[in-house]
Amino acid sequence: MRSDKEGARAPLGLKIAAGLGLAFLHLPILLIFVYAFTTEERSYQWPPPGFTLKWFGVAWGRADLWEALILSLKVASLATLLAMLLGTLCAAAMSRTKFFGRESISLLIILPIALPGIVTGVALRSAFNLAEIPFSFWTLIIGHATFCVVMVYNNAVARFRRLHGSLMEAAADLGADGFQAFRYVVLPNIGTALLAGGMLAFALSFDEVIVTTFTAGQQQTLPIWMLEELVRPRQRPVTNVAAMVVALATFLPILLAYRLTRDGDQTAGAGK
């Protein structure tokens, strides 16, 4: 409870600092949206000399952009699927009982995102090299799934904890076997958390660039395409459009995940 006094007003200085902070977080992203329409081709001139929709058409016709996008979607879907499977299993097991080594397992799960991305990337790359596994679509999936597990795990484990054990027992008392209890009792209760975790994992994988550079062979995902464009700008207007589309594409899953977890706060049997 924070409503110490009704009508407790924030000091003006605090309001200004918080407002400026939020503006600082959002203005750069808004700028991307303006630049997507600029007529300027050779520089990042501000204010834009004019506005045009031309570059949307040009970007639409670019085969390399489409290939990168499709590859990114494929990688993110497969990695998310794998992560959902592994993350859910892990969350279910971890929330059930206390057992020896439980703490180390939870550390192991968060390690891939707790350590700097470059460590994960170099480690995987050198391991693939040592094992003489050629870099391909599949090495990319392995890399992505590894750091996506934690996203699903975090979401699922929070929900599993709130899911009362007596629910499973009640299901068993009513004659359901383990699979039925899972299908009819557990799954509906954790479904939205899984979906939210999956979306966050998808967004993470779709956007990931560091581990990707280390585990990809010739494959070019959308972030890799963007990175090349950032290092050596060749088609600035097309990049502007691509950046805007990517920004929009990541907003949607986030808003959806937010809705899903917010509504899912009232879990059956939570008892709190």
């Binding site: 991307i32 009982t97 350590l115 470059i118 460590v119 480690a123 391991a127 950032l230 990517v246």
Partner: protein, 312 residues
């Protein structure tokens, strides 16, 4: 739901289900097996392989990797040029951490204590959306902002403050030819990109402060300022520490931001990237990655002692 809707289980499936029920230990083991195999073999295996390779060395003449245990590669880390890289990276990570704590605190404080209802949701999404927006898009946005012909210089020119930017850029270390090739630019982009990671834990720790604690403080005659410094701020510190884990670790491991916005002086990430790539010096790259792992290890140990993990 009535029992009639769910068919009674029989046969193999029923037997399997019964077996799971009777052997909770085995069930637990079977559930944990796939994720542990994955993370244990693929991830930990790779990490250990990397650590192992940091004890190899590279033959200076042939460029081949000599697979004999040696500390030579680690000794190389302490050459002035390499030590410089580590020091520069740690300094930048520390500055970014302090900077983001300063910028994040008012946002988190307002969101936790004053924002209600709709504003609460706006602040929450206002932090979540930038947090989850594409990293490269954010970096790209800053490339647009910091460009010589970009919006920042334009704004300063409109305010007749161009001389201020130029005076800043003339300073040693933080300055440079233009903002986009200076350490100041690198700092700004780091600050921007990792800021949400600092806001969320601070907000979480402030929200856990019970309201009656504040009331008690004012009942005992504390001014709002005293309440803030003596009650709220100490309780928010674990949150700041938790956020600093992210900002510190993320800054230390990044090699893309300093490559796109910054000077030609390297950071740890760039050194690792260069050594494992074109130079083919995996042992030195591996030794370089040990530096952030060790620093983070010490940092995490310290943070854990100060209770930062409860604030995550």
């Amino acid at each position: 739901m009535t029992a009639a809707e769910i068919p009674q289980s029989r046969g193999l499936r029923g037997a399997l289900s019964d077996w799971f029920w009777r052997n909770p230990g085995m069930t637990l083991f079977l559930m944990l097996l796939p994720p542990l195999l994955w993370l244990g073999i693929i991830y930990l295996g790779s990490l250990f392989a990397l650590l192992l390779q940091s004890f190899y060395s590279i033959d200076e003449y042939s460029g081949l990797i000599n697979r004999e245990f040696t500390l030579k590669t680690y000794a190389e880390l302490f050459k002035p040029a390499n030590l410089d890289i580590i020091l520069r990276t740690v300094t930048m990570a520390a500055l970014v951490t302090v900077g983001s704590a300063v910028v994040a605190f008012p946002i988190a404080y307002f969101a936790a204590r004053y924002a209600k209802g709709r504003w609460k949701a706006i602040f929450y999404l206002g932090v979540m959306l930038p947090l989850w927006s594409s990293y490269l898009v954010k970096v790209y946005a800053w490339k647009l902002i910091l460009a010589r012909e970009g919006i920042l210089n334009w704004t300063f020119a409109k305010l007749h403050l161009t001389w201020l930017v130029e005076a800043w850029l003339a300073l040693p270390i933080v300055g440079g030819n233009s903002l986009s090739v200076s350490h100041t630019g690198t700092f700004l982009v780091f600050l921007y990109v990792w800021l949400p990671y600092m806001i969320l834990p601070i907000q979480a720790s402030l929200e856990r402060v019970p309201g009656n604690l504040i009331e008690a403080a004012s009942d005992l005659g504390a001014t709002p300022r005293q309440t803030f410094w003596n009650v709220l701020f100490p309780l928010a510190l674990p949150g700041v520490l938790a956020g600093s884990i992210f900002t510190f670790s993320l800054t230390m491991g990044d090699y893309i931001i300093p490559q796109i916005v910054g000077t030609s002086r390297r950071f740890i990430g760039q050194a690792v990237y260069a050594h494992q790539g074109t130079a083919g010096n995996i042992p030195l790259a591996a030794a370089f990655t040990v530096a952030p792992i060790l620093i983070m290890g010490v940092y995490l140990w310290f943070a854990k002692r100060k209770g930062a993990f409860d604030a995550l």
